[in-house]
């Protein structure tokens, strides 16, 4: 009974352990109301944007998934900007200007990110080419030399022995 109690207490205490990160993001936000837009287009833009932008607090979630209060603030800000007539590009620029390229789930394609986008593909091509070249070289290296008479007899003897042994 004591052990069960101890395990329960330990388990519950982990729930209240303070965050190990050096900075905190505040109290959890209350559930927000769904955003209402005038046109379908606006709603579509909003839905697309909140999934394309990363929540910088919970860095693996997008803005619609995240419970962080900052995500709620940013969702609200996006809907306000959409209602004011801002285009998707403008809103993305707004976010990137404040939080950097990291907020985009799809990194931009510019000089610094060419390696990120094309690197893996390029590495695969190089690797396959290298592999193909090595294999092709090796194929031409392997040539069967005919056995001499003594070697043929020895081979036959070994094979016969083997057959006798296994039968």
């Amino acid at each position: 009974m004591n052990r069960i109690l101890a395990t329960c207490v330990l388990g519950w205490s982990f729930l209240f352990l303070p965050s190990l990160a050096a900075a905190q993001s505040g109290p959890t936000a209350p559930p927000s109301e769904p955003m209402v837009f005038e046109t379908e287009e606006q709603d579509a833009s909003y839905q697309k944007l909140v999934r394309e932008l990363r929540c910088t607090v919970c860095q693996n979630q997008n803005l619609i998934e995240s419970n962080a209060p900052l995500a709620a603030d940013l969702r609200r800000q996006i809907s306000v900007m959409i209602k004011d007539g801002a285009q998707t590009d403008e809103i993305v620029d707004y976010m990137v200007a404040r939080y950097g390229d990291f907020v985009l789930f799809r990194p931009p394609k510019n000089a610094t990110t060419y390696l990120l986008w094309y690197g893996p593909g390029a590495l695969m091509v190089i690797g396959l080419t290298l592999l193909g070249w090595i294999l092709w070289r090796r194929r031409s290296q392997v040539t069967a030399t005919p056995l001499s008479i003594e070697e043929q007899q020895r081979l036959r003897r070994l094979l016969d022995d083997d057959e006798k042994g296994s039968s």
């Binding site: 050096a22 505040g26 860095q59 950097g100 990291f102």
Partner: protein, 176 residues
């Protein structure tokens, strides 16, 4: 030495080098796009004197520290003595009270000290968004022209003060 032995060794050391650098970086810390740019302007009510305004223009004319904090932020409590220390070293410190209530914030200052020349009361967090705040505490160092030169996310430690903030501050004081 045969090439086919040297090449994997070189590739290995290249990989080690990359990992050495990469693994020492903290992926949660985002580089701020504001560094090297002008500080975002704001006009907020002052926390302690609600009838007066605190605008970003007040921070011009000398290098200044801008510290984003909140009463609900535990790390801010731990950091507070460091700010007092910086104040004693002569650094001008301004604050942004982020998504907080006035009474909680004032109580925090009464309890832990008040090193700020002025504090903006950013209840909605909109000014925080303009500054790219995503976790408190965050601290910015600006030069006398209002250009952001340094940002630190997380607690200010004595090492950071000695190695990053104070040297940069002295340098910014020298600049015209």
């Amino acid at each position: 030495m045969k090439l086919r032995f040297v090449l994997p060794l070189v590739a290995f050391f290249a990989l080690v080098g990359l990992l050495w650098v990469g693994l020492s970086l903290d992926p949660r810390v985002l580089p701020s796009p504001l560094i090297g740019r002008e500080a975002p302007s704001f006009d907020l009510p002052e926390l302690r004197e609600p009838d007066t305004r605190f605008t970003s223009a007040e921070m011009l004319g000398k290098p200044a520290l801008f510290n984003v904090w909140a009463s609900w932020c535990v790390t801010c409590r731990q950091e507070h003595p460091m700010l007092a220390e910086l104040r004693r070293s002569g650094v001008a410190i301004y604050g942004l009270n982020y998504k907080d209530t006035r009474s909680d914030a004032l109580r925090f200052l009464a309890r832990f000290g008040d090193p700020y020349d002025a504090i903006g009361f950013d209840e909605s967090g909109m000014v925080g968004i303009d500054w790219g705040v995503y976790a408190t505490p965050e601290t910015f160092l600006m030069d006398r022209h209002g250009m952001i030169r340094f940002k630190h996310i997380g607690m200010i430690t004595p090492e950071i003060i000695e190695q990053k903030i104070l040297p940069l501050y002295r340098q910014l004081e020298m600049e015209s």
